[in-house]
């Protein structure tokens, strides 16, 4: 992804945008509350998380076997399977399928993995019209922006902003900020596109190896439209989305929808196991699944970080992240923002390019507490920080280990270590700090911009304890 502005600039821009702050505050509070309402019993929630976690752990540890089984059963069901190691390869595969069928217009359901490979731009450059049909994605596409959240792509936009973008594009409709009316107008516009499209593209929420079934959740119906009306359906998925058995689906579906949008279940749960069979009257005539690697197999090889692949893309960690609430999705500059983003993206794109993202975290632990599949996100983020500054720089599994080590910072920690690992040196330091506390720094970088700079007390606790007569051994 092109990062025209630096991370620092994007952060500044996000923090100075009052409207953004208000939008995100209200959206995140809304989503957190909805999720809370779905899980009234903490004990039961933890049981459900255990189950979901073990299903996904199973998926990840058995990944190669399950992918082979998935492929076998999909092909038996007449769904053609393609493997793509890189994003470019995946784009070319999709393009080739469309080209072979002389497909010129494509309708697309919401899919983060297609954002990842920048499929829309690729096909656009090849002269293929590709239209986002999820309302949030449609509106974001109109405004020529990227989604700012993995489940609610237009969450950064308020009604006014949406109405303006919509009516700029479709001046034939009377201007309104009424949500129902805008929705009806979008329905009208997209209906004909669904009917006439040459192909439909979607993501996949779960791919069941046992039966060769692709599962999709949605509320609007656009996903079903894209995967049922056009004569070709191409599904794209990361390789980690496979699950072993059909019986794994109910617990995963349940915790996914509750965690993501606080819904007990989405309006539609679509389980596709075949294109149109002999005698059937609708459904795509041909179906394809593109299995995308794009760095996932490398993460898989890294035992410390492998749990990253358990993610079911619910967005719950993002909703609960206090840093994300301040920044919004775009500031991260990556497809996946928030806690999962700062864990996944540096592993996929390398620490040299994205190592700084790991600083966008206070280690508050909220993400780890809500992850439905118990990914220890704070632990993984911390490990990436360690890789960034003191990792083994011949590590082939993550690019850029040790690349963020800065001389001044590492020197500071060396000094700190010397002082704090020696009680003797520390006692001298402590005497100086307390007795001469009037010379403590007035400013501490940006600390002093928002707070008064703390000053050591005149006496340390050690002294007070001694004076108060407490034993010291």
């Amino acid at each position: 992804m092109q990062q025209i502005k630096s991370l620092e600039n994007r952060i500044d821009e996000a923090l100075s945008n009052e409207q953004l702050h208000t939008n995100f505050r209200s959206a995140m509070s809304f989503l957190m509350e909805k999720r809370r309402d779905q899980f009234p019993d903490e004990k039961q929630l933890n049981n459900e998380r255990e189950v979901a976690s073990s299903i996904r752990s199973n998926s990840v540890t058995q990944l190669p076997e399950l992918l082979i089984k998935l492929e076998e059963n999909l092909e038996k069901n007449n769904i053609k399977v393609h493997w793509a190691e890189t994003d470019l390869e995946a784009n070319n595969i999709v393009y080739q399928i469309l080209k072979d069928a002389n497909a010129k217009t494509v309708v697309k359901g919401k899919s983060m993995v297609t954002e990842e490979i920048e499929l829309n731009e690729f096909l656009d450059n090849k002269g293929i019209e590709i239209l986002e049909t999820d309302l949030g994605e449609f509106l974001v596409q109109l405004a020529n922006e990227k989604p700012s959240h993995i489940v609610m792509p237009a969450i950064h936009k308020n009604r006014k902003e949406i109405s303006k973008a919509f009516f700029d594009h479709f001046p034939e409709f009377p201007y309104t900020e009424d949500v129902d009316l805008i929705t009806q107008q979008v329905r009208k516009i997209l209906r004909e596109r669904f009917r006439k499209a040459d192909a439909g593209i979607s993501g996949v929420n779960f791919a069941v190896a046992e039966t060769g079934t692709l599962c999709l959740v949605e509320n609007e119906g656009n996903g079903r439209m894209c995967t049922t009306a056009p004569p070709i359906h191409i599904a794209v998925t990361g390789i980690e989305k496979v699950v072993e058995k059909l019986s794994d689906i109910p617990p995963l579906l349940d915790i996914l929808t509750k965690s993501a949008t606080g819904q007990e279940i989405t309006t539609y749960f679509n389980m596709i196991s075949s294109p149109r069979r002999e005698g059937e009257k609708d459904g795509p005539k041909s179906m394809h699944l593109v299995l995308l690697d794009n760095g996932r197999s490398k993460i898989h090889q890294n035992n410390d970080m492998q749990e990253t692949l358990k993610c079911i893309r619910c967005g719950s960690c993002i909703n609960h992240c206090p840093v994300y609430t301040q920044l919004g999705g775009h500031a991260y500059g990556t497809v996946y923002p928030g806690p999962i983003g700062i864990t996944l993206e540096p592993q996929k794109q390398g620490i040299t390019q994205l190592g700084e993202l790991t600083s966008l975290c206070t280690m508050c632990g909220a993400c780890g507490e809500v992850c439905p599949v118990q990914i220890p996100l704070p632990k993984l983020i911390n490990k990436l920080r360690s890789e960034a500054v003191e990792g083994n720089n011949t590590n082939e599994l993550i690019e850029g280990t040790r690349s963020k080590r800065k001389p001044l910072e590492s020197l500071s920690w060396q000094v700190w270590k010397q002082v704090y690992s020696s009680p003797f040196i520390y006692s001298i330091f402590s005497k100086i700090a307390t007795k001469l506390n009037f010379i403590s720094p007035k400013k501490l970088g940006k600390w002093g911009k928002y707070r008064i700079t703390p000053r050591p007390s005149k006496q340390s606790l050690k002294e007070l304890a001694n004076q108060a007569g407490f034993d010291n051994e």
């Binding site: 493997w83 190691e85 929705t183 109910p250 349940d254 749960f269 898989h300 035992n303």
Partner: protein
């Protein structure tokens, strides 16, 4: 392409981690609901998602259709070829009965733009989540429950299950998945604009579930 497959699988297999099969203990939920409770729970959940529900006996179905369809301004109704014969002879003449007889391509314009409502059977329903379950067939193709603005679904009271897990195991889904299995839990909706709910985005704006008692 083949090469990519080998490269990817090689990397995945070449792992120092023990590939131990983690035992998954999926606790099967059971509520021990009576049939009445199942119907009540299913109705309650569907209604909270803005679907309409009605409990009718088999005999009352035709009367309901003949009364309600004109009331709601429905001029034509799409019926699957398996039940079309039975129903069409009883439906009022003012209401045109459409049958999904030919392939979608041959009449997609009429399906999309001129079909007011559809009526489909179901293979069951899930009380816990308030979902109806469809396995589209050559007689009741997939788009019937998606394209028309109003979708009427017939659920037989004996096919209501407590949980999704129960219907999967009782009906042995893993042995024989249909081309497209669907769980539908309400009319189409979105909350993408300022988290305000709006209905009838792309799928049906109205879902009417008729629960039939024998």
């Amino acid at each position: 392409m083949n090469n990519s497959r080998e490269i990817i699988l090689e990397r995945l297999k070449n792992n120092t981690n023990e590939t131990s099969h983690i035992k998954v203990n999926v606790a099967k939920k059971t509520y021990h609901w009576s049939k009445e409770e199942m119907i009540a729970k299913l109705s309650e959940k569907l209604q909270s998602a803005r679907a309409e529900t009605c409990v009718l006996s088999d005999a009352e179905l035709i009367d309901w259709l003949n009364e309600e369809l004109p009331k709601r301004g429905i001029r034509n109704i799409l019926i699957g070829t398996s039940i079309a014969k039975q129903l069409s002879q009883y439906i009022n003449n003012e209401i045109e009965v459409l049958k999904y007889e030919d392939s979608y391509e041959s009449w997609s314009e009429k399906l999309f733009n001129e079909t007011d409502a559809s009526i489909t059977t179901t293979i069951g329903a899930i009380a816990e989540s308030g979902s109806i379950v469809l396995h589209p067939t050559p007689h009741e193709p997939r788009l019937m429950s998606l394209v028309p603005n109003i979708h009427i679904a017939l659920v037989y009271e004996d096919t209501i299950y407590e949980t999704f897990d129960q219907i999967i195991s009782t009906q042995h889904w893993s042995e024989n998945m249909p081309t497209n299995a669907l769980l539908i839990s309400g009319p189409s909706k979105t909350a993408d604009i300022e988290q305000v709910l709006a209905y009838g985005v792309h799928g049906p704006k109205e879902l009417i579930v008729l629960i039939l008692t024998s």
